[in-house]
Amino acid sequence: MQRIFGLIKDKAEKLLAGGTVNRIIGWTGGEFFYDPTPAVFKSKEELEGLVYNSFCASNLSKYLINESKKDGKILALLKPCDTYGFNQLVKEHRINKDNVYVLGIECSGMIDINKIRDLGIKGITGISEEDDSLVIQTIYGEKSCRRSDVLLEKCLCCKGKQHMAYDELVCADKPTDGSCQDTLEASAKPSESTTDRFEMVKKLEAMSPEERYSFWRDELSKCIRCNACRNICPSCSCVKCVFDNDASGIASKANTDAFEENLFHIIRAFHVAGRCTDCGECSRVCPQHIPLHLLNRKIIKDINELYGEYQAGKDAESRGPLTDFAMDDPEPGIVAERGGDH
């Protein structure tokens, strides 16, 4: 990690000094080792604050909607999974690609500090990583755990190490040239990514409607309408959300009945259907730990089954399954058929 960070910083400095870009979007260090914040750096001096470590989970592609409207080119440090969101936003004409220089950076899976805390580890002040073992310094002595046990939920179903969009790549094993992509592809995925990302969706599908209803009521009733899921979501890029519009009559800061928060999340899932890249940011930021990504995955699974395998954000040009038409598209009837006889 230290080595790759050095390479990224060198590269950023060079591109800034050479005038390829006039600023860089990356992460700046925080109070602790685990709380970096997205930040824009405009000079070599400011770049001293740049960090890249196992806690830089936030997807920077959404910030590029605004940043790419400003003057000059910005260097964006994007992890492999972040490039899916980037492509999708380019496809939707939300990012002006001409104003962005993408530096694809290596990622070996991001760590969830909350999962470390959930192991009962308190007062965390430092961490050292070696392969799969983590040594955690705390106020109450040294603790340890496996890295693969505390990866972010979204990293458990890693899409792989390949960047879907980049102007240049940085990887630790080889100098930055064309061969980097091969190196990244060849190397192993972060964890045992044998995890089937639809596993839980299948479980939910297998439940009776009553069980499923009660699962979602339990989860969604925790919602406090903080909008963190919506605001972090790269697919939620409306300039003004209908739920923020007073005049819409549905700007609901409070739930008028107990089912309203369910509707909010279901409507949001449908609005990002076919565009959601399954980046998992919604679940990562939910302060109430609602597994929101499961709603999106259910729709992704349905799209795959109806229209064939599709991964949003894999490219920036093709038409999405829900925005395209073909004569042999499945008829809506198939939905009813799948539901069995009722």
Partner: protein, 355 residues
Amino acid sequence: MYKIPVNHLTQLFSLISGDRALYAPIEKNGQVRFGRWSESEKVSLDKLNTIRSAKDFFFPQSENLVAFKTEGKKITIIENRDDSEAFILFGVRACDAASFDILDRVFLSEPVDTYYKARRDNGIVITLACSEPEETCFCNVFGIDAANPAGDIATWIVDDMLYWKAVTAKGDAFTETVKGLIEKAGSFENLFEAAGSPEEEKLKKYKENVKKIMDSLPLHDLSLEGFNGEALNDKFNSPKWKDLSEACLGCGTCTFVCPTCQCYDIRDYDTGHGIQRFRCWDSCMYSDFTKMAHGNPRTSQLERFRQRFMHKLIYFPANNDGVYSCVGCGRCIAGCPVSMNIVKVVKAMGVDKNV
């Protein structure tokens, strides 16, 4: 002071929850939230911060204020406030307990907020001292002692024994009630014994140890020098807000998990047959916060972000005898999706000790 073996707490909870609701930090699916206690629930005595703070019990996320019904030109006003029942809130930490004083300053000063007051009057707060503070804790910065929590009754857990001390008159009265309940139940020996001087000594040592830990925490010496009413214009006009607010998503997480954030909105809901007027938590991070007939006074996220910290660190203390509207619980540090928080703001905007 009284003592109760920790493994007898379920019996105690069962007794005291007989005639009123008991709320406690309940662990479910690995997460800890305040919830209604029943024998099947697992109480967490270990976790410091519940996801949401304890303010919810006095200032709920939404509540009915009043309803109106119109017939022709006649308007009928209908009282529809949510009934407040007597309840016990167990396991409140020192930081959350201190937040009630801050909320009281807002809601109990003239004109008294009767909705809030009814809940305060009906609630008995039993606090629990912190044995193992987290690295994100900085309550000491605001003069709060994690080992000496406020509330109506304070409790400490030392070596599998819970010590119980009434702090207020309300706490005294409730302690007598508990003693009565135990006597009546009869069969619980050792459940609620008076603790003597050896125990006091033990507790003293415990508190000294917690203090030592607090003094070694990374944020224990956070300086609030320069955050006061006199600095209002300097702080307000600081160029630093631009960088600090740059990453802010404009979500309401920090404000909703905060034990001291107290801003609310009042809205009318058209039921089709009349109007239901309710109030709900508002967030200064939202684009419609304090929107008025002329529009919104804060049109950028920078201004909204600045409002939150100016309120907590400048406006509130300037109007409330220097009391800051933060208790150092650390929830915003853990909760912010982009890891921006009050500590980073204080350090960036404050007086640098090293200069």
